[in-house]
């Protein structure tokens, strides 16, 4: 065993880094134990030799310099920025919701106004509610279902009557067919007449054969033709703006 091997064994023994066999060998050899003691003194002297800590300023400066080159971001600042971003997004979202809400309320209000006007117009109709119900019932009836047309504009009553005569005669056959169609699809017929005024139905009317819209002296009118019990036909002209009877005449 040379000196290097001796030192290595003694040093490892000191660090408790030996096998059982090596430990037994050192324990049994006074020269090796002596070398262990010498190295122990050196080790203890090194451990006892205190290193004076760096000053707080030096430490803070070194750490600050290291942090300055760090690729690590400041998470606290990042969190604060994220919180600010969240507040901004929430504000924008709240504003959008508010705008949409206000728009919805306005639209709903406008829709309600339109509905109210329609109700008012219906209330202003010369027909009573019972008459309206009767008219509705009549309208839903196959006999009173009609086919609507756009008749045109006329300067006076005679011109309009003449046009209705021609048109209603031409549609006489079609009226019966339309009545049959309406019987097959009453809902379609109802929807066709639902936005129109309820005409003043003659008391002896047995069916309606013609219904149309026209313009008389610049004002929109509704034109209805009824077949009476005696087989004659009667024209009923109603103002669309007020749903009031303008005139009635036998064709």
């Amino acid at each position: 065993m040379n000196d290097f091997e001796i030192d290595e064994l003694a040093s490892a023994y000191l660090d408790d880094a030996v096998t059982d066999e090596e430990r037994a060998r050192v324990d049994a050899d006074p020269a090796l134990r002596s070398r262990v003691d010498e190295l122990r003194r050196v080790r203890d002297a090194l451990r006892a030799s205190a290193v004076e800590p760096a000053s707080a300023d030096a430490r803070d400066s070194a750490i600050a310099s290291a942090l300055a080159v760090s690729p690590v971001v400041d998470l606290q600042a990042e969190r604060a920025e994220r919180a600010r971003r969240r507040v901004r997004v929430a504000s924008i979202a709240a504003a959008v919701i508010l705008v949409v809400g206000v728009a919805g309320v306005l639209l709903r209000s406008a829709s309600r106004d339109a509905s109210t006007k329609s109700s008012t117009a219906a209330a202003a109709s010369p027909s009573s509610s019972s008459t309206s119900s009767a008219a509705a019932a009549e309208a839903s009836s196959p006999l009173f279902s009609t086919v609507t047309h756009e008749l045109g504009a006329y300067a006076d009553r005679d011109a309009l009557v003449a046009a209705v005569k021609t048109a209603s005669s031409a549609q006489a056959t079609a009226t019966a067919g339309a009545a049959n169609d309406a019987a097959a699809t009453p809902k379609a017929a109802e929807s066709t007449t639902s936005s129109r005024c309820s005409p003043s139905t003659p008391p002896d009317a047995v069916s309606q054969t013609f219904s149309d819209s026209a313009v008389l002296a610049g004002a929109p009118v509704q034109v209805d033709v009824f077949v009476l019990h005696d087989g004659s036909r009667r024209l009923v002209v109603t103002s669309v703006g007020t749903c009031t009877l303008l005139f009635t005449q036998t064709l």
């Binding site: 065993m1 000196d3 290097f4 001796i6 030192d7 290595e8 064994l9 003694a10 040093s11 490892a12 660090d15 880094a17 050899d29 020269a31 090796l32 002596s34 070398r35 010498e38 190295l39 003194r41 050196v42 080790r43 002297a45 090194l46 451990r47 030799s49 205190a50 290193v51 800590p53 760096a54 030096a58 430490r59 070194a62 750490i63 310099s65 290291a66 942090l67 080159v69 760090s70 690729p71 690590v72 971001v73 400041d74 998470l75 606290q76 990042e78």
Partner: protein, 214 residues
Amino acid sequence: MTPAASTPASRKSRSTRSSFRRIRSDADDATLVADAQRGDRQALDALLRRHYDRLHALCFRLAGNRADAADATQEALLAIVRGLPRFDGRSAFSTWSYRVATNACLDELRRRRRRPDLGLPDDDALLGADPADPVDELVVGELTMDAALQNLPPDFRAAVVLRDVCALDYAEIGEVLGVPPGTVRSRIARGRALLAARLGGNPEPASDRPTPEP
């Protein structure tokens, strides 16, 4: 008292900072490392503060004087911060940071050796010390230890310092230095033997020592 120090906001800020530091000091290394790797600068700060004195002691023993130790410690911290994103946690942070610091110090030593003004550590202080004075005797003793360490080859010095100053075991030292445990054992033994000769613990040459029984 400064105006800022007297405001409730500044008191609250100091209190928050103080409680934050307390919470951080309670966290273990693994937690701080994980937080730092996720981008928490405060965790990184706490981690470096916790290990600074340990790393400085290592660098001082390896470098041999305060100025070089300060430079080496600074380099070590920079290397740790730059390398932290790649730290995979397979070894303890303390072991890994020792390895980074040891490499930084050895690099610093190599640079220093290339400089022309080489000398024993803190020679100026040694010249003024009186060994007869009990206080100066202590100073002389420490300087002698530093000087003795500086006379060791860097590889031996690193092994001895990591074992006797940093208290790492052979496997950890092997990990730090990148050598097998057998090499660590050999380097520590040679380093200690040279220190013993230098410090007078074993004045006679190794060849004059009594030979153990075969």
